[in-house]
Assembly symmetry: D2
Homo-oligomer: 274 residues x 4
């Protein structure tokens, strides 16, 4: 069911890899809600080619851009500007850790990789916003959203240096939210989403059991990628104009749970068998 | 502009006093978005009669209920049940401190009044939810929202025992959000709104200058009652189904500011003249 | 090992029931560190008589006081004043819920009991501070501490209305911390302690397994009552003069954990056997 | 007045520049409390030579180390190991932003400088801990502390990319606090200190007026460097063994204030004159 919440709005969506991606779902919903947008992802991510299907379904195009390269982002915004004039929303759904990929634990980090994690997963958000502001491409009351995870507040084993990247990402949303809000009325927020079975997520060892735990801890269960896309739409819409600099949990309640009866029941069963 | 976001949804709205009230604006917006609802307020608040105009404009009725009386709330829900069967949303916008009214400071509280503050401003929220749950009147994925203020986290002089009431109110949202979510998929959240020039607010000494300060601190300025109503609509809609147990700041960014250039400029001017 | 950290300091300690109580351990440590203090508890709690042993060991006396009665607290402070003149520290370790005792769940609360929970577990803290301030009994840079629990921030099933009481308690620490700090340089904080096997705790159904979970979640394991007493001493000492209005977690790290490997291992074992 | 709180403890203190530095005060207090330690700072910071006076007063030596260079930190720990065997505490008081120094605003950052800010001000903390852990140089129940600032949570104009660095620093304390606690019982915390008139601070434009504001906002006034040193001592002592992964505000209450009467009075004066 669509409401025309984004009718006439233009945007840029970073990070759609395939139909498990949250960014993919956001694109589909934004299209349904009347938005026009450019899709973008890193050249390496685009090799798989699925994003072109999405572009076709959303009647748009894909512009390749490496979010760690300033010139790529500048080029992307120039294309957007030519196409739309000013834009109204941006979704940032980008994160990657070479330390995780290479199996380096948090107490044996490679510092070059650590810098790369921060660069790709956090500074890329600053880069996108800085270029947008310098080109003055956002309309007043535009909305910028990045996806994050509760690991920025609470440590989860194996999440590794991505926790630090998410903490920095959320800090950028506050720091730049102040400046961009003050000068151009643009709002910047992060959505802290339940762990989600995306391609990135499905590669993590033990993700199934962690999802079981968070699902039983959350009174409403884990939030899906589709539901996250719905929530993004509200943040891009005109109904949330005064929400800025916030980290918004979209997680079925997990973030404010200490222990649920359902999760404890599973835990207890194991204890009883000892 | 309306989107039909609440088409077919039924609800109850507590706390509309006059057209400065946030609950009043929520009623107007909810009506525009296709909802049906009952308006309710305390008998004493209804003496002024303005709420009847609102009821007429929203094609509905007013049911008097004192939120500190269990039987009043039970009666209200019975009327709602007869009218709608099940309902989808509830707004709680109720708060009052006799200590504030009587000019008693926080270090000279009357403890009977203190209990009343907690009863009216916080426990009433529990009472509403408990009765709703016992009568099983909410549809699955229903949404309950209460209005709160940043004083629950950060002390503001003169806000007095209302700060403690708001802290308890937000705790109730978490405690009951867990249970109602787990059992009936109902979500419960609070919106922490900018200080607002309602009838209640306008009676507070020094409110003008405080509003000036918060406005200059907030990159997007203070949020208005209308904007708060817009935000409520998103929380009642189907687009935020997995958001629960949260306290959501709707304040132009104030909550995450330490000091803004605009506010500091005013402050500095005074210092320079010393 | 003792350091004379509280040499010459006088105080009042609320809530020592028996040698499992945190307040009991605080009394022992405070005595070791050179403090003098009055012990106090509710008349009903004193019937068991063990607190007299503690008084003997600490070379002091016990004054019975019901923290829900203003006149009892006034009487207590008058005795303290005669004995010490001004005092330097107060420990508040008081909490009780009739709803919990009577087995009423959070969605079937008795509202008279709910008021009692708030009165005994939270407002008693306000009462103690208000009387202290009105009698001007605290020395400058005095320190007031109350014990609390993470349920104030994160919902744990079965903790019931005590979660709301702890949220209110922590709010009182902020609200009064501002006023008492501003006017008399007195600091007020809460310590959020690991779940602890006190007499109160040991009556809670399923507490053993919850303690197992929190222990495995916390990198340093659960904090004991003795360790909590050590921490209290630092907050009563002159080394923490500028710490106020804070809620300080003393929990082996639990509060900032999302999931630990040790806890997940137990959880996984149960899943594998399904 | 000294308590022998650190008798027999060994440590390393990073970041003492001159007698305005917090690290300098920590060294003095730690020495008074019976600790032995090595002082260290970056080669460039040592050129001024004042740290040698401190070393003499504390009967110790200075080891030059650039915290952005792994080999420097490894060398430092080897010297410490030869001297002490295992150590008990580490203070990290390091921060620097080339963007700030060069006058680049947050919406015109140089990304190489941004990486340097993160490297020096945040990753250096990880580097120190990783090397300590790999060399297994910390005794069980050792304590690691870094200094941070409330800008990690709340935006202050002009604090620039240091806000993001402090957010990352605090995240590292959590992430590594989990691992180091779990494996070696070492605790890791950050102290979030009032703005302080150090050499670094005194160079910031408008710092005087900001200090006036935070002082009037804080019920106990701004915390001094000496007071911060006292607080550090408690965190290095055996009395805080179960405190880990925490960010601890040492700020006279500022962090939990929304608005104080004293600050508002100054603000109002300026408004009245408009």
């Amino acid at each position: 069911m669509a409401y025309n919440l984004l009718k006439g709005k233009k945007g840029i969506i970073f990070g759609a890899l395939n139909n498990m991606s949250i960014a993919w779902k956001v694109a589909e919903k934004a299209y349904e809600e009347g938005a026009e947008f450019i899709l973008t992802n890193a050249p390496v991510a685009m090799r798989f080619g699925e994003i072109n299907e999405l572009a076709k379904a959303c009647n748009t195009e894909v512009v390749s851009a490496d979010a760690s390269k300033l010139e790529d982002i500048e080029n992307l915004f120039e294309i957007a500007e030519k196409k739309y004039g000013k834009i109204d929303f941006i979704l940032h759904s980008i994160g990657m850790s070479l330390n995780v990929r290479k199996g380096l634990k948090y107490d044996e980090l490679n510092y070059d990789y650590y810098h790369k994690t921060m660069d790709i997963s956090a500074m890329s958000f600053h880069r996108v916003i800085q270029v947008a502001k310098q080109k003055d491409i956002m309309n007043e009351w535009g909305s910028i959203v990045a996806l994050t995870y509760v690991a920025a507040q609470r440590t989860l084993f194996r999440y590794n240096d991505m926790a630090d990247a998410k903490a920095m990402l959320e800090s950028i949303a506050r720091s730049f939210g102040y400046i961009y809000g003050r000068e151009k009325k643009v709002r910047i927020n992060t959505i802290s989403q339940s762990p989600t079975m995306t391609t990135a997520g499905s590669g993590v060892k033990g993700i199934d059991n962690l999802l079981d735990f968070t699902d039983r801890m959350s009174p409403l269960g884990n939030a899906t990628a589709e539901e996250c896309a719905d929530y993004c739409i509200t943040l891009f819409s005109d109904l949330t104009k005064k929400v800025t600099m916030q980290n918004l949990f979209h997680d079925g309640g997990f973030s404010n749970m200490g222990m649920s009866e359902r999760a404890m029941t599973v835990y207890n069963k194991s204890l009883e068998q000892e």
